[in-house]
Amino acid sequence: MNLQYSGEEIIAADKAAVWKAITDPEWVGRCIPEVVDVTVRDPTHFDAVAKVGVGPVRGNFKFRFELVPGASGDRMDMKISGGGFGSAVDLTAGADVSDAGGGQTKLSWSGQAVARGPVAAVGGRVLDAQAQKLISQTFANVRERLSRR
């Protein structure tokens, strides 16, 4: 199954600060909802263990993240792969980073999730809710944490 999401966040911080934050794997890892543990493997790769809890699907799940920063500094792409129980969940999320004026920065993000195996066959609808939460909450948390400063 193939699911698509998109959204927008206005952050009360300037573009440079935002860019600095979202290129830091440790920092991005901490923006994942219900994150339990983040292990940075290199400047663009990290593993995160997050608590998942939608309906019957509950427990800690491991996700592998790859950050793909655009050279021009106004596009960040993210590849996320998770799985377990013979299933694979591949998420991709990308955000255009642009100056929104008044020291604010706009993140226009979009993402999609592709699920394969029993998780898609049996938990499809549950997964939809979870993938949406994972992607949208991550960007919402980016705003939260930067705006708080």
Binding site: K51, G53, V54, G55, P56, V57, R58, G59, G84, F85, P118, V119, V122, G123, G124, R125, V126, D128, A129
Partner: protein, 292 residues
């Protein structure tokens, strides 16, 4: 297929179960009928660290009518409704209809009404019935028990007003007047399937034969069961004519926002929403001796 390992606790009382939940928080899941949870665990989609089994708690298996409310405890089974002595009364026809098409006859021996409300599957049956009957769910939390109207209880797909560490202990259905009847119309691919589409309908007639009150809800028509308030408003105070029914059906079809899946296309499911509401209304009215 074998579930991941977990710890099992059999709760002796509602207090005991609640205390355990408070102690264990997110690691624990309440096991009632288990007819959705256990298959999910066999596929390892669900892997709770601890199961708190509430099946042995007598006080939670009660089914009783007191001060205008039918109360079903958290482990009251689907089959108990089907076999209740009063279920033949036409005022209960909506519950009766539904109790015969939930899951399959064997699953209904274990499955519970409250459990199915808490699971809140978008294509569930009891959630839809609860909306049409304006039921309320008793939720036990830190601050004691509170009563949550079903419209607030159903938050999103597989998500309810029951917060972490809380548990639903009962569902309450208002006892309808004797000029009330209902109907549950479900299209399923085969017995045991979730609804392709389903409509729960309940109408109460006034002395003058006009519709005093109507409850209309749809299954598999959104993230979770959907109340068609537009149709309810349209019916209220009206004589039950074919035209009024057509209007209600159209409203239902319009309100339905289903997902396309193996059960059918969006267009087909929206069509069904209308057809089933119209059939449900006609059957409910027929049960009240009104031909429409």
């Amino acid at each position: 297929m074998i579930p991941a390992a977990f710890e099992y606790i059999r709760a002796g009382s509602a207090d005991d179960a609640f205390a355990q939940l408070q102690r264990l928080g997110a690691d624990a899941r309440v096991l009632a009928g288990g007819q959705s949870l256990i298959p999910a665990m066999r596929f390892r989609l669900a892997r709770p660290a601890v199961l708190i089994d509430i099946n042995a708690i007598k006080e939670l298996s009660n089914i009783g009518i007191d001060n205008g409310r039918l109360t079903l405890g958290a482990v009251a089974r689907d089959c108990a409704i089907e076999r209740a002595p009063w279920i033949g009364e036409r005022r209960w026809s909506l519950l009766h209809d539904a109790s015969r098409v939930v899951a399959d006859p064997v699953v209904r021996q274990m499955g519970t009404i409250v459990g199915s409300l808490c699971h809140n599957d978008p294509a569930g049956d009891w959630t839809t019935v609860a909306l049409a009957t304006r039921a309320e769910v008793v939720v036990r939390g830190k601050a004691g028990s509170r009563t949550v109207p079903i419209d607030e209880f159903l938050v999103d797909s597989f998500t309810t007003a029951v917060a972490e560490g809380e548990m639903a202990t009962a569902v309450r259905f208002p006892v309808p007047g004797d000029r009330t009847a209902g109907s549950y119309q479900k299209v399923e691919r085969k017995v045991g399937d979730f609804a392709t589409a389903a409509a729960a309908v309940q109408v109460t007639l006034a002395e003058d034969g006009t519709i005093r009150d109507a409850g209309i809800a749809l299954s598999a028509a959104g993230p979770c069961a959907v109340r068609v308030s537009e149709a309810e408003a349209l019916l209220k105070g009206q004589k039950p004519t074919a035209e009024v029914i057509r209007g209600a059906a159209a409203a239902a079809s319009k309100k339905s926002a289903p997902q396309a899946d193996l059960r059918g296309s969006v267009a087909y499911k929206k069509n069904l929403a209308g057809v089933l509401v119209s059939r449900g209304l006609r059957q409910a009215l027929a049960r009240l001796g009104v031909q429409s």
